[in-house]
């Protein structure tokens, strides 16, 4: 594709480093994400994938480097700063409150409310939360018995769906997903991947972290590998192969498929 025809860049990271005391989790990492693009991030355990995503979503401040959103430099001090711009994250551990119901989880931090006395008192609008949650789940084609079910009572796939529903409940522009399929049975994996395709169709950009080549090659447009906290390689999906990407994870370029793990 010609550079001119490509959709605009939504989110860009330039030279991001992140240190935790003596540990260097990220070093000079750069990448960019276009509108409606699904990018896969791969890398070994501890490569820095989750840390990079937490920087993008405002949970961590980068030690060095900068972030650009729609061309403007941004500094996030909390996740709500990022959420305000439309960057949402589905955490590896999902970050759901199991004691609360589906609707309450979807609107955690962004509760529908009726305010009185100039905002001094905010009543939780349970009715609106239920109605909007049902409607939103409907558009995502996620089926649950009732939005009043406690999240603790749901299956892994349903929880994943609720976490994704939360990330997309408002006008999300970028949705970051950290290993959304890792804990799921095959049937539920398919549902989550189809959800990602749906988001892409709606013009939402998705960053997908996964260890599963099947996921990457099913939904992504581009794949980027981190190795020991650094950019290692990246390519459009059509220009690479599973065995090459697996090689990147192991830290070898131009891998030709002779290692044992290729046959696993």
């Amino acid at each position: 594709m010609n550079e001119m025809d490509r959709p605009p860049v939504v989110l860009e990271a330039r030279g991001i480093s992140k240190y935790f005391g003596a540990v260097t989790a990220l070093e000079d990492v750069s990448f960019s994400l276009r509108k409606g693009e699904v990018i896969g991030i791969v890398g070994d355990n501890g490569a820095g994938k989750s840390t990079l995503m937490k920087v993008l979503s405002g949970l961590y401040r980068p030690s060095e480097g900068k972030l650009l959103f729609e061309g403007n430099e941004v500094n996030f001090s909390t996740p709500s700063d990022a959420r305000r711009l439309g960057i949402e994250m589905v955490y590896q551990d999902l970050a759901l409150a199991e004691n609360m119901n589906i609707a309450e989880n979807i609107f955690l931090g962004t509760e529908p409310r009726r305010t009185f006395l100039g905002g001094l008192i905010s009543f939780y609008d349970h009715r609106q939360a239920r109605a909007r949650a049902s409607e939103h789940l409907e558009t995502l084609k996620i089926h649950v018995k009732s939005v009043e079910q406690a999240v603790g009572d749901l299956s892994g796939g349903q929880r994943q769906a609720v976490a994704i529903a939360r990330a997309t409940a408002f006008d999300a522009k970028v949705v970051i997903m950290d290993e959304p399929t890792a804990a799921l049975a095959i049937r539920e994996v398919g549902k989550v991947l189809d959800l990602i395709k749906d988001l892409k169709k709606r013009g939402i950009s998705v960053i997908l972290i996964s260890h599963r080549m099947d996921d990457i090659f099913y939904v992504c447009d581009r794949v980027l590998a981190l190795f020991h906290g650094k950019n290692f390689a990246q390519a459009d999906l059509g220009d690479t192969s599973r065995s090459e990407v697996i090689g990147w994870i192991m830290g070898t370029l131009n891998h030709k498929g002779t290692l044992a793990h290729d046959r696993l």
């Binding site: 996740p79 409150a97 119901n101 309450e104 989880n105 955690l108 931090g109 009543f123 009043e148």
Partner: protein
């Protein structure tokens, strides 16, 4: 279950075993109260179910009831406040000492104000000093506030408070003559019921209240959703301190005095009421109505044993057993619900 609007308890349960647990979880406290009431009624049919005795139970437990609201709030966020007894005493002493020299409106507000300040210090300590657990900070406050209560009073009780200050703790609303005598309703009973209704609405129907449930359920989830967890915790501990100050005002009014040993060990009774009332020590679960039930259970045990002239020591044994049973129900429920 934490949401008041759901009537479909059956919907979210998956087996018969779970049904029983969910039912016990929701209505267990009502059953316990009914059984206790029947037992006491059977043993003292002439005394127990009289207006005088029932309002007495509520009156005598009003201090516990007020403390239990604040304690429930901190336990809901998976915290604890060990300092409420000492803060109660400090608030009580400050108002008793000042009542001699200050106009009564100052005396009236000073107790809850002192309590709020102590609670605020707890909250800031827990969140900003990054204490490993609220236990530590509030244990420190337990000692410090008790010491201060003795320092401000020179270690001696003060008595004789102005009437407006005594009003909340000792005034009665006359209800005329019926049922064999002049009847009345203690003002503090009305006050406590109003507090419970107000805070019930806070917990179930305000954004603040629902966020406390989410913080107790998963603080990390609350944080990444943009909720300022620290700010909420500071408010929660401040309210808990405020309640301790309010309890100090009630106790001062009832006894027409301030004494520096007031409320010793009462924090444990407030914790017991909250736990018996079905709140989870792990945070995120429980209702204020249940907590009120917990206060009633403790009050009924006290009343029943008193009416039958049973020693207070049996009362302690009984409460100990009920706490253990209540918590094992909680643990059992968690085990059932996490086994997928």
């Amino acid at each position: 279950m934490t949401d008041s609007d759901s009537s479909d308890a059956g919907d979210r349960t998956t087996g018969k075993r779970l049904d029983v647990v969910a039912l016990l979880d929701r209505y267990g406290i009502v059953i316990v109260i009914a059984v206790l009431g029947l037992l006491i009624y059977a043993s003292q049919p002439d005394v127990f179910f009289t207006w005088r005795n029932i309002t007495n139970i509520l009156n005598q437990n009003s201090v516990h009831a007020i403390l239990a609201i604040g304690m429930f709030m901190v336990i809901l966020t998976a915290g604890i406040d060990l300092s409420v007894g000492s803060v109660l005493a400090l608030s009580m002493m400050c108002l008793a000492v000042l009542s001699a020299s200050m106009p009564w409106p100052v005396t009236l507000v000073i107790g809850p104000l002192v309590g709020s300040v102590a609670g605020f210090v707890n909250g800031v300590g827990i969140t900003k000093l990054k204490m490993p657990h609220p236990f530590i900070m509030t244990l420190g406050m337990l000692f410090a506030a008790r010491g201060l209560a003795n320092i401000v009073s020179g270690g001696v009780p003060y008595s004789g408070l102005p009437d407006p200050v005594r009003f909340l703790g000792s005034a009665r609303i006359p209800l005329g003559e019926w049922g064999g005598g002049m009847q009345s309703l203690p003002v503090v009973v009305v006050f406590v019921v109003a507090l419970y209704i107000g805070f019930h609405i806070v917990f179930e129907h305000t954004v603040f209240g629902r966020r406390l449930y989410s913080i107790g359920g998963n603080p990390q989830a609350a944080r990444v959703s943009g909720i300022d967890v620290d700010r909420h915790l500071i408010i929660v501990y401040t309210i808990c301190g405020f309640m301790a100050g309010l309890a100090g005002l009630v106790m001062a009014g009832r006894t027409n005095s301030g004494f520096p040993n007031a409320g010793m060990g009462i924090e444990l009774e407030a914790i017991a009421a909250v736990i018996i009332g079905g709140a989870s020590f792990f945070g995120g679960r429980g209702t204020l109505i249940g907590v009120f039930g917990g206060v009633l259970v403790m009050g009924l045990i006290n009343n029943g044993l008193n009416l039958n002239n049973v020693s207070v020591f049996y009362q302690q044994v009984l409460i100990g057993i009920i706490i253990v049973v209540a918590v094992s129900v909680d643990v059992f429920r968690r085990n059932v619900s996490t086994r997928k």
